[in-house]
Symmetry: C2
Subunit: 324 residues, 2 copies
């Protein structure tokens, strides 16, 4: 059985045909272009999906259902409540896509999609209680309880990026101050580096890397500079890891999970970054005798969104088939 997984992000729309084991067989990607507006973005999703489904047929990868992860909450009728990073509000996405693609469509928050990815095909297989954190433009979260995805009473839970963990120099786009994603997302890392540079940390190699144009600074550049020993970059990376650890210990206090999986763009920083997260988690734990969960980096890296969306399609498609 094959599924189309669509990962709608603030930067790119990525999609792939995925088999039951979570392997991507065909893949496609286009720039999201948030400024072009929701109609244009949806129209791009539709045409790219149609093309990929068609391409799949040439290889006999017949898509049975489509899953999509979006960077915001989705209600039980398949309406995207909002996506701040996309300027979306109240978009009946399931209805729109169903009409165009003529296939079963299942849309969920991208954090839940990441959790489905790890639960079905990744590092949370067989785990009873686990958490996935995706560190991208924002921070997505997925929670596994009793071996199932947990989303809460109104289906708006697992928004772990909006847990307040401290006080920050800028507000979150949700309206509050101190949300985890304003400390530990890729965007937060960039914002903090810009803040340091604009305050005059001129010896940083990031100055020359961006030719003095701060708008050219991106996450990978900061990670790279930090790995090469740049003090400003390291200060920013350590801050992101420190607050992430604080968020992890908050989750430990509330949910006491067995395992935490880190995915998303920033997870590409690899073991080097994981070691920092683990060090701070060790230091931040409350009551030193309390056990803390295993923390690992997803094997899916940036593909977690595509595979997760496909696994959402798989889980719902199978469930629906069983009901019929």
């Amino acid at each position: 059985m094959y599924y189309l997984g669509i990962d709608l992000g603030g930067t790119n729309i990525k999609m792939g045909i995925v088999n039951e084991k979570g392997e991507i067989l065909l893949k496609n990607q286009v720039y999201t272009n948030v400024e072009s507006g929701s109609d244009n973005i949806i129209s791009n999703i539709i045409s790219l999906s149609k093309k990929l489904i068609k391409d799949g047929e040439d290889y006999n990868y017949i898509v049975k259902a489509v899953g999509m992860g979006v960077p915001g909450p989705v209600d039980e009728n398949g309406v995207v409540i909002n996506c701040i990073n996309l300027n979306w509000s109240e978009i009946p996405i399931v209805q729109i896509l169903k009409k165009e693609l003529m296939l079963p469509i299942f849309v969920e928050n991208d954090g839940n999609a990441a959790a489905a990815c790890e639960l079905e095909a990744g590092l949370l297989r067989g785990i009873n209680t686990g958490i996935v954190l995706t560190l991208g433009t924002g921070i997505g979260g997925g929670i596994i309880i009793d071996g199932k995805s947990y989303t809460g009473f109104h289906k708006i839970g697992a928004e772990i990026g909006h847990m307040i963990v401290g006080e920050n120099f800028y507000n979150c786009n949700c309206g509050r101050n101190g949300c985890l994603e304003t400390f530990s997302s890729a965007n937060a890392l960039i914002k903090y580096v810009k803040e340091l540079l604009s305050k005059g940390e001129k010896s940083s190699s990031l100055y020359s890397m961006c030719n003095g144009d701060f708008s050219k600074i991106h996450g990978a550049m900061i990670i790279s500079a930090a790995k090469e020993g740049d003090k400003t970059a390291n200060k920013a990376v350590e801050r992101a890891a420190f607050y992430l650890a604080r968020g992890i210990i908050n989750l430990v206090a509330v949910l006491d999970p067995e395992k935490i999986v880190i995915g998303g763009g920033m997870s590409k920083a690899g073991e080097w970054y994981l070691d920092k997260i683990k060090k701070f988690t060790e230091e931040e734990r409350y009551f030193q005798e309390f056990p803390i969960p295993e923390i690992v980096i997803s094997n899916f890296k940036n593909n977690i969104g595509i595979v997760g969306a496909a696994m959402i399609a798989k889980l719902n498609y199978i469930e629906k088939a069983e009901e019929d």
Copy 2:
């Protein structure tokens, strides 16, 4: 069927014989006297329990099982891992009590006991996803997921009082800074009032109420002064409510519960305090269009610990009977 419920607190040991509906039929209480040490406290628990079980027999209230809630984590073997407020560490309480009382004994964290109370006999009956917060010496938490008490992988979850929600002027006894219980417990309220008074807020009526002896200030005194319009007391109460609301919204972001029940000593401040919590929760919500849970005050007030402990006994006793 009758159960003995024991509420071991930092101030008092309270216990009662409780029926299946959660009604207290006989009740007894003794000062905990933390300084006397764990052996003395346990010896008091045993003699008071024996006396109450015996008294119950006169009324034909035959106790079938004993439940106890303790202010700290308990492992699956019935060993209290630690209770900071009691100076307890690694106490095999179930083993000790079983030998003396010759009845089935079940011991859990007091937050879980509070959740069992509300789930079985209180405001969380029939609720799928709910949270109980007990505002006492510290802050206890209980989480209901799928209509059952949730405690996590190592059984040390639902320690909601140790979720970091900001930066505070003193550290938590868990070793971190900014835990919810250092802002919104009764102890936190008292500490903050002392801080304000020692910094010279001399116009406060609390000065005369305690005759200048700050060690005499207690929670009920502050609530009473605040209700009568004292500015210092009000400032402290508002701060406690503000951070509690922040903690509640953090829980909403993670768990999206249907209902939150507030219990413990500070809940005796009643609707007046609940209104403040609700006001700040409304202001602190992230994304104004997101639904927030209903917040209510437990009907059990200070008895939540006794009834909860009895309900822990009831639930485990029935479960065990079904297994046999």
